[in-house]
């Protein structure tokens, strides 16, 4: 475990700003506040510029000789490609409404983590290069020259933004610092300054179909292993289809869920749901990743990785695609997929084979969110549920940033949750729904070496969880995101000990009564069900 201070110390946050101008404060790299750089062989595999060995604490970052020209050229081309970028560079009035909306600022107090200042890091170069008046006035007008220190500062702060878009909700002009961060990361790629935790999963995903680099046979093994567990718990053997042609539905979910606790229980939940419905569905090892670390890399990488979904649906002859619980995967599907890789005319608008509901909301992409699918099933009374099996859970719900502010998926998961659990409590109003706080590890920052900063950024979320824990005895935080399932458990242990984390469909899987199942004595985690504590296995 990485070393980081205990909560009592970490909470001593100072929100006052220095007297000295921010342009005069030097960027300080400390263990825990940055992520390790991309490894040369990964950069080479992905065909990205300037692969080399380096670390952020080095004085010399080994930038290419004409790096200034390279960066400015890319800057110009991005301004031409994105109206968002141009407008966001031009119209900020520095009103400061966004300043205390970022979890990294709230939990850390570093003024450069105020979204407006994060954007100014880029804007100052924009002014210095593209505005004559600002060039003359210099620092007074917030303009500066592009120097190596600027690149270092960009690297630190644009890899301390989880692209959660909370700031953009509060900005009177909708300035989205997440968008600015994406642009900045593209600039940094040009000179080879990026982080391995994003690039290695992207590289893996390209070759093996998933971030973890799980090869097809290993994937199948793990699936069988989870089916063994289900058999032990329910007495029923499930035999899921994998890479099968001619099924009606292709199901894609993040690979994190087949691999790590507590995601695996959500994975089991899916398997149980499909079995219960007798759904004509297949899984795929080629498209075994819902997540898309390309979103955190570049538009090209995002498109390339995303393209597998349609390619596989076409190859297998599926009619439509069902998508599992994942945050940024759904931002990509909702806002980018059809634009990048559509139109998918070989697919049909999703229709639930059980209820007959036609999902017009997915008429373009032909891809449905599993929370929408399950909510519709419950509404039509198609699931045989026993919510009392979840009585050991007093649960609250974490809205993941991307489905919240990049889609608007609020009611569907709540409806499902309330039907499979009997104890549900909301966190405070300013921390949920569109105002939700990040888990601190989105946008490819959920790595180990970054834990201290993640915990700081996780303060607003963690504190809200603590609030419902103390008030209502909440002991479970449900979510619909695989990154959340990886980042929230340590967060809860740190800020709200005693609260566990689960996916939505784990709770669904607990509650579903399969035809002919044996009397269950444990939940999917193999903990005793309420009232079954003494039951012998």
């Amino acid at each position: 475990m990485a070393k980081y201070p205990p909560p009592e110390e970490l909470i001593k946050i100072n929100y006052t700003t220095p007297v000295k101008s921010w342009m005069d404060t030097k960027t300080a790299f400390k263990p825990g506040n940055f992520s390790y750089p991309g490894k040369p062989d990964i950069l080479k595999y992905l065909g990205m510029p300037n692969p080399r060995e380096w670390t952020p604490t080095d004085d010399d970052w080994k930038l290419p000789p004409d790096w200034q020209r390279i960066v400015m050229e890319k800057f110009r081309s991005l301004l031409k490609k994105y109206r968002s970028f141009k407008i966001f560079m031009d119209i900020c009035v520095r009103c400061g409404a966004c300043a205390d909306k970022c979890h990294f600022f709230i939990g850390g107090g570093d003024p450069k983590n105020m979204p407006v200042l994060r954007a100014e890091l880029l804007r100052s170069i924009y002014r210095g290069e593209f505005s004559a008046a600002a060039k003359v006035l210099g620092k007074l007008a917030g303009a500066r020259k592009l120097e190596e220190d600027v690149i270092k500062e960009w690297f630190l702060y644009f890899y301390q933004c989880t692209e959660c878009r909370r700031c953009s909700l509060f900005c009177p002009y909708g300035i989205d610092t997440a968008e600015i961060t994406m642009m900045a990361r593209e600039l940094l790629h040009e000179v080879g300054c990026n982080i391995n935790w994003i690039l290695e999963p992207a590289a893996n995903c390209n070759r093996t179909g998933n971030h973890l680099g799980i090869q097809p046979h290993a994937y199948k093994d793990m699936m069988d292993f989870l089916c063994d567990d289900i058999e032990e718990i329910t007495g029923k053997r499930i035999r899921p289809n994998v890479n099968k042609k001619g099924c009606e539905i292709l199901f894609i979910t993040p690979s994190g869920d087949i691999f790590a606790d507590p995601g695996i229980y959500t994975y089991m939940g899916y398997l149980i749901l499909f079995e219960h419905l007798g759904l004509d569905v297949t899984w795929s090892t080629y498209a075994s990743e819902g997540g898309n670390f390309g979103l955190f890399t570049s538009d090209k990488m995002m498109k390339k990785l995303n393209a597998k979904m349609y390619a596989e649906a076409e190859r297998l002859g599926a009619k439509w695609i069902l998508g599992g619980e994942c945050g940024h995967m759904w931002r990509v599907i909702n806002q980018y997929m059809s634009t990048m890789n559509g139109p998918a005319d070989f697919l049909e608008t999703p229709v639930s084979p059980i209820t007959g509901t036609k999902f017009d909301a997915a008429a373009g992409t032909k891809m449905l969110h599993i929370a929408e699918f399950t909510a519709d099933l419950i509404k039509h009374g198609k699931l045989n549920l026993d919510p009392s099996r979840n009585d050991n859970f007093k649960t609250t719900f974490h809205d993941s940033c991307n489905p919240a502010r990049g889609m608007g998926l609020f009611e569907e998961p709540r409806y499902v949750l309330k039907n499979v659990c009997r104890y549900f409590y909301e966190m405070p109003e300013n921390t949920i729904r569109e105002q939700t706080f990040c888990c601190g590890g989105g946008a490819g920052l959920n790595n180990e070496e970054f834990t201290e900063t993640r915990l700081r950024g996780g303060l607003p979320r963690g504190n809200a969880v603590k609030y419902v824990r103390d008030r209502h005895g909440v002991n479970n935080l449900a979510c619909v995101c695989a990154i959340d399932r990886a980042t929230l458990p340590p967060l809860c242990d740190y800020w709200a000990p005693g609260v566990g984390v689960s996916g939505l469909h784990e709770l669904v899987g607990n509650a579903i009564i399969l035809d002919g199942e044996k009397k269950r004595t444990t939940d999917l985690r193999q903990n005793p069900l309420p009232g079954m504590e003494d039951e012998e296995e």
Partner: protein, 333 residues
């Protein structure tokens, strides 16, 4: 420092015309400068908008602030998460006329005991920004009486509403006092709120002080020296009818100072953050409907040559292992 320089600049913009007019340069400040300012404003504003509009919006990236439209029995938020043009229209109306996003503003408080992070609603910025902008609009409309003969009816209504309290003579307009309050609040925030001071630049202080200067000279003209309104109108009408001439009656130098400041504002406008007035209508996170899952959103520079790592290549890589694991393959080994 930035605030101080801005203050000096505004001061210079008052002193120069004041002295200049005394030296017989009335026509320069009363006629030439306004024409230059109007031309720069119109050309500059248009060019900025055209420049923005030239960059495409490759992706549909609205920030969704409410429930999406999905299942018929789930209530959606058509204005905070619009799915069509009508919804976007309403979202923009709320944004532009009521400052909807700013209305959401909260401030964070951290209590060491607990610890507890609290969020309280913080509407002062919203309130004063709203006051400032509406007063500005009202004053602009009131000023139309100088440029139109006969004075149109709506201008009369605006004046009537604005002077409903009937304080003093000449009647005191409430907007004059309110706009000053609004501006001073915004300025005080920049100076006294540490976070805002830290991010403030010269281009933030300058327009605020410029506006304060405009309001103060305006109040001075109207309530203190009580300038010859007929002569001012003659000057203004000359400009708009393209028959510019200096009125025979003398005009107080404060009028020229006021006018010069206004010209400075017009000239400065297109090159500054004040362009947020036009930019907000083009901001992709606000003006795009959340519809890209329903229908196609086209990216003009989408690159069709970007292809996924193909299934065939994937199977070639793993065929043996797949067969061994009992997974179906397209090509037998």
């Amino acid at each position: 420092m930035a605030a101080f320089y801005s203050f000096l600049a505004v001061l210079a913009l008052i002193v120069i015309p004041w002295l200049g007019v005394g030296m017989g340069m009335g026509a320069l400040f009363g006629i030439v400068l306004p024409y230059i300012a109007i031309i720069i404003f119109m050309v500059g504003f248009t060019m900025r908008i055209v420049d923005w509009a030239k960059s495409p919006v490759p992706f549909c990236i609205p920030t969704t602030g409410g429930q999406q439209k999905s299942l018929p029995w789930i209530k959606n938020s058509p204005w905070d998460n619009p799915y069509d043009k009508k919804g976007v229209f309403m979202r923009m109306v709320l944004e532009v006329l009521c400052f909807r996003s700013l209305f959401r503003n909260t401030s964070v408080k951290l209590q060491q005991e607990g610890p507890k992070v609290g969020y309280s609603s913080e509407k002062s910025l919203w309130l004063f920004a709203l006051i400032f902008h509406y007063c500005f609009l009202l004053i602009l409309v009131r000023h139309l009486r100088f440029f139109m003969a006969p004075v149109p009816y709506p201008v009369h209504i605006a004046e009537f509403l604005d002077s409903i309290l009937q304080i003093g003579l000449p009647v005191m307009y409430q907007s004059d006092a309110l706009i000053l309050a609004g501006l001073l609040f915004l300025l005080a925030r920049r100076v006294f709120d540490g976070k805002v001071r830290y991010i403030s630049l010269m281009q933030d202080y300058f327009p605020l002080l410029l506006l304060v200067g405009i309001v103060v000279t305006g109040i001075w003209m109207r309530y203190v020296v009580k300038v010859d309104v007929i002569a001012v109108k003659e000057l203004a009408m000359g400009i708009v009818t393209l028959h510019p001439h200096m009125p025979k009656a003398a005009i107080d130098p404060s009028v020229y100072a006021h006018l010069t400041l206004v010209c400075a504002l017009f000239i400065y406008f297109p090159f500054s953050k004040l362009m947020h007035m036009g930019g907000v209508f083009l901001s992709p996170t606000r003006v795009a409907p959340n519809m890209s899952r329903r229908a196609m959103w086209v990216n003009p520079w989408n690159d069709p040559s970007i292809k996924p790592h193909s299934y065939a290549a994937y199977e070639d890589d793993f065929r043996e292992k797949m067969i061994e694991a009992g997974l179906p393959v397209d090509k037998q080994a």
